[in-house]
Symmetry: C2
Subunit: 390 residues, 2 copies
């Protein structure tokens, strides 16, 4: 384990901290852009550096299938392969195995599934997921879990939670025995020689608060360097997401990083940070950008709309990003309407800038003691956006 969390300040349950990882110091609460197939879609890596992203995600399932984890290992690991010198986190592959595969077959041993690319048959066990993630060599790997579907009744949620806990144990044992084989851990003469990747446990338990508590407590007994809350954003209402996070956080240690996977809208990430979450990731800002949905300090806008055809203003008048500094809504609307590839580049750059700035605002507000006001502001904007869309 090569990780430390230094808490600088708290504000209610929220914490302003620095998460030190082998490849970067991450200021938290942090939003982590998703780089599914070794690329945050459409963005050159130096744009992410200019936005001061310190950690991004890679998806184990996608990278395992293409280009293959052994190829990436031979290329020196994912950092070198994609030329990203800062921190990386890989998921376990479990979420994609469950969400992209109708024909998966789960057993105690693991999951058999078919590639969404060519239909070929594959098998992931906790041990195999660890081997793949160690080959990729992210700073943070995730335990192999079963992402419980929604809705799931109590019996199903318990059964799934128990399996995830057994897999967590197997993940941890295998990871600890082999994580020294991560490309940069094993490389002679590397500045990071001897440092190790870190494995986080994942809380499951469906939408049952007591099961979540049990899952958290039993994971904490295993003593991971960090904990994630998984199985959310799977179709449940937002109030339920919030409730489950609230029911789980008290059972996760305050001196370790806490990560909620796969959330959310801007007001959600502010809210969860206020509740004490340190790390979040979501495809929303990048995927929405490619569909023309833009996040701004004035709420969401759809750049496709005709009303922007002659709008000479920037996407967001108070945004300091390079897109808002240079291009008009009229131009961005034209790029989108003309299906120009530059539309995805610029929209993604702006949306990620907005998300990363939002987290900067959260960190500043924790330091200044103004987090409640920030939260009120983000909620009001979201309510206005929702009303505008209704």
């Amino acid at each position: 384990m090569s990780l430390s969390l230094t808490i600088h300040q708290t504000s209610g349950s929220a914490r302003r901290a620095t998460l030190s990882l082998p490849h970067a110091a991450v200021e938290t609460p942090a939003f982590m852009p998703v780089g599914t197939a070794a690329s945050v879609k459409a963005l050159p890596q130096h744009f992410l550096e200019e936005l001061d992203a310190r950690i991004i995600l890679g998806n184990t399932y996608h990278l395992y299938l293409r280009p293959g984890h052994e190829l990436i290992r031979r290329m020196g690991g994912l950092h070198r392969f994609m030329s990203w010198p800062r921190a990386l986190l890989t998921d376990s592959g479990g979420f994609q195995v469950f969400s992209l595969n109708e024909l998966r077959k789960v057993s105690e041993e693991g999951v058999r599934f078919r590639s969404h690319l060519d239909g070929s048959s594959h098998f992931f066990s906790p041990e195999h997921s660890m081997d793949v993630q160690i080959a990729l060599g992210a700073d943070i790997a995730m335990a192999f879990d079963e992402c419980t579907e929604y809705p799931a009744d109590r019996a199903r949620a318990r059964e799934s939670l128990d399996l995830t806990l057994r897999w967590a144990r197997r993940s941890k044992d295998h990871f600890e025995a082999h994580c020294h084989l991560a490309p940069w851990s094993a490389r002679e003469g590397d500045a990071l020689t001897g440092q190790r990747p870190n494995l986080f446990g994942i809380v499951q338990g469906g939408m049952f608060a007591d099961l979540r508590r049990e899952s958290a407590e039993r994971l904490v007994e295993m003593d991971f360097p960090g904990y994630a809350i998984g199985g959310l954003s799977v179709g449940e209402p937002r109030a339920m997401t919030r409730e489950i996070i609230a029911a789980t956080l008290p059972y996760l240690p305050t001196d370790k990083p806490r990560y909620v996977m796969g959330v959310g809208y801007p007001d959600e990430i502010v809210e969860y940070a206020a509740m004490g979450v340190d790390m979040m990731d979501c495809v929303l800002p990048t995927r929405a950008a490619r569909h023309g949905l833009i996040f701004t300090s004035e709420g969401r806008l759809n750049i496709k709309s005709r009303r922007f055809a002659e709008d000479q203003g920037p996407l967001d008048p108070v945004c300091p990003c390079p897109v808002c500094g240079r291009y008009s809504r009229a131009y961005l609307r034209h790029l989108f309407a003309a299906q120009e590839p530059l539309a995805a580049v610029l929209n993604t750059l702006h949306n990620l800038a907005f998300y990363l700035d939002t987290m900067r605002l959260v960190r500043d507000a924790i330091e200044l003691g103004t987090l409640p006001e920030l939260l009120v502001r983000f909620r009001a904007r979201e309510n206005a956006a929702a009303a505008g869309e209704a």
Copy 2:
């Protein structure tokens, strides 16, 4: 007319010059990237600035259809609309009307054609092409011409050439009467107030040297500030392209810029520059990039190829571009194979860097008197590439 050509040095027929335009000083011989629909596909404008591109193209046909020239005029002209402060050149729309429309109908008055977007019916006359181009407000506009098809017999080439000459007269008369209406010419208090866009004439004449000569001589009598050789790269063999350029250049004034439209491969642009051409444009580097075809100092390579799957070297070991400085062939091959949008961004950036560097080499070689050696080197590489593909 607001244009001057200052010739610094000659080497044989080649000239090293500076073309001063309202929005930029362009070092020639110059390659001009094509930005069809107000975007050099997949590239943010500041990348083009970092590559030191001084002039890029816009396509009148595409911009007329979408977003519309009147919209662009209201947005302050194409420079402002796309946030490109340097020089722009627009074609006349003629080439696209002829190449994208099977059902066009040509008359003395102009061309009726159908939109490739929605099938709607449109009419371009020389006067209308000028009005559209003045609304776009490029530094250089092009006379409305008929791009003679290939093959065309002598009678057809003569008829087409005569029509183009009558249209050139009409283009020039209308342009001179209205070019003060270009957005930046007309804008009060603009640094460019009172400066004017420039109109180039286009030589046609099919593949007949004597008709090309006649076309050139009759255009020169009309006294344009610059001349283009059009109707090439329409399917004829490369030797014929070269022959027609060679047969035309002696009849174009040496004190004005000479532009060959729509060429070519790297060795071609070096060769034509050596023959005395000052300006060239082509979709090849950008379009090829999107299909994975990469130009390098060692010849062409197809990044799709499996042989690059684990190649940790850059696209081109001597290329100073940001792509070669950061990313491996293995990574770029993966991005292409995974259909990641970043593939188009990075491949395009590299290919344009290579083309612009090629022209820098040409300009240096003219100054140093080493152009013949440079040409030999580029030809040998092209022969090797052609042999490798055969």
